[in-house]
Symmetry: C2
């Protein structure tokens, strides 16, 4: 199960009543944060998932509305009692940004490492498989995919047919070969075909790119920027390298997402619900993000 919570849905500047875009992810008791603008720690406090389990922060880019909350967040995680390392991911320039912001958070009770993920690279992170895709924004910017792997199904009837003692089954389930009484059974003999994991994709701030649909890749949940609702704002979207609701919906459709949550609304967009219909006409499973919208993604029953 992969728990996902929108900590905020605003872009450009935090507002009374709308925190800046950020996503908190919980998997097997561990937390991962996507973006950390000013005030993100306050929104996270209100959600109640705690701070001590936060082991990774993925920054899309270094505009202040996505990163200014970093020093306060690092200090809060320290106050919560964390001593295990924490990793920060981000596009090129990460070390300089983190060093600059840590001018006011120089001492922490845990180590911080900075990783600039290469395109195509898959990094193990908080039990999830993380990968990144360069986007098209005014600054270097990354989309992130997080995948919760799922084990192949164990087929007890095959294990019984091979007379594997029951006490050895768990090792086979974990993918280890077992031997007993001169016999040997490999996992492939008792495991079914690979099953898809859970896929969460987060993309902000960007224009649509040719690579994005494949990166969305049938995501169980696609959290996508949709800065402008009104189609008349398309020139602004192009100029400022953002997307409209319709563009986000087209991306979700092209990427065969199961659902898309729209986020990163312009401060001028006071009533995003006015434009939801237009997005749903393109991609029916479009959901309007709001602060503290949550879901738990679960493996399919098959």
């Amino acid at each position: 199960m992969l728990d996902v919570c929108l900590l905020g849905t605003g872009g450009m500047m935090p507002l009374p009543g709308r925190w800046l875009s950020s996503v908190l992810v919980r998997f097997q008791g561990r937390l991962l944060l996507l973006d950390c603008g000013e005030g993100t720690q306050i929104s996270q406090k209100a959600v109640g998932w705690g701070f001590k389990a936060l082991g990774a922060i993925c920054l899309s880019h270094y505009h202040a509305d996505h990163v200014a909350g970093l020093p306060g967040m690092l200090l809060m995680v320290g106050n919560s009692g964390r001593t295990e390392p924490l990793t920060i991911f981000g596009p090129p320039g990460l070390g300089r940004v983190v060093a600059g912001l840590r001018t006011i958070a120089p001492e922490l009770p845990y180590s911080v490492s900075c990783v600039e993920p290469a395109p195509g690279q898959v990094v193990e992170c908080q039990g999830l498989q993380l990968s990144a895709l360069p986007l098209d924004h005014a600054l270097p910017c990354l989309a992130y995919a997080l995948e919760a792997p799922r084990a192949r199904p164990f087929l007890p009837e095959r294990a019984q047919a091979l007379s594997v003692p029951v006490q050895l089954w768990s090792r086979l389930q974990r993918g280890e070969a077992v031997e007993w009484a001169g016999r040997r059974v490999a996992p492939d003999e008792v495991l079914g075909p690979p099953r898809p994991g859970l896929r969460l994709v987060y993309a902000t701030d960007t224009r649509p790119t040719p690579e994005l649909p494949a990166f969305v890749g049938g995501a169980d949940l696609f959290v996508c920027e949709a800065t402008y609702g009104d189609p008349a704002d398309m020139p602004k979207a192009v100029e400022r390298k953002h997307m409209t609701f319709a563009e986000a919906a087209h991306l979700a459709r092209a990427g065969q997402a199961r659902q898309v949550w729209l986020t990163h609304f312009s401060p001028a967009l006071e009533e995003p619900q006015r434009y939801l219909d237009q997005a749903q006409a393109i991609f029916p499973n479009t959901v309007l993000g709001y602060d503290h919208l949550q879901t738990s993604l679960r493996f399919a029953q098959t």
Copy 2:
């Protein structure tokens, strides 16, 4: 008239429902901010005094809860259309802190200068006279006094007795000598004795110091940290270099303030009103600060 608004009253970390300690000051249409922790811009937005007129930010010290909101604030002031210079005041180390935080706010449509005020120095700032006093905290820390000067009273009966033409009175009021028809009158001949201005003093984070009462100096309003309410927390106050409600009230009394507003409450202090009586027993004009508490200080009628 000097307008004063508490933008927040919390210490250490921002909380849902309590912004970090910060004071917004408005004088003759210009704004000055005392401290700028994470979220201060959101609280300021809610107050509605705008951002464009913000010409000075005074930082007490460089703990994140007093300074982490700086890059977002600088960007917000830029978005508001300001092109006039802005000055940041702070204790030694200011340039390094501002440079570090501006890693994510490198380009602004106005110039920023950094000033480390020397003790005893009086700096003209936003029409006010600013001075600073070193405090006793874990890091170098400054209290600030802001004084709105008041003109000497103009005595029309004297001007009449000297036969000064009415059209020259305003120049005398401004302190200029005037000449007409071979005669000369100096301002001293038509102005009454100097009158005290309005004095606002802000002191956080600190232990009480021997110099503080004189610096409070009969302030019309003294905004003072009072991190702990319960007298049993005195060992914490000493260890962490903060004050209790009672200590803040003693300071206000010793400094002959007209009133004191308590602020910078510990996150653990959920009900500060429980300890107000104890402070008022020491200094009756003690007011419990809360987010967006406002007043307008006015010159006395005399």
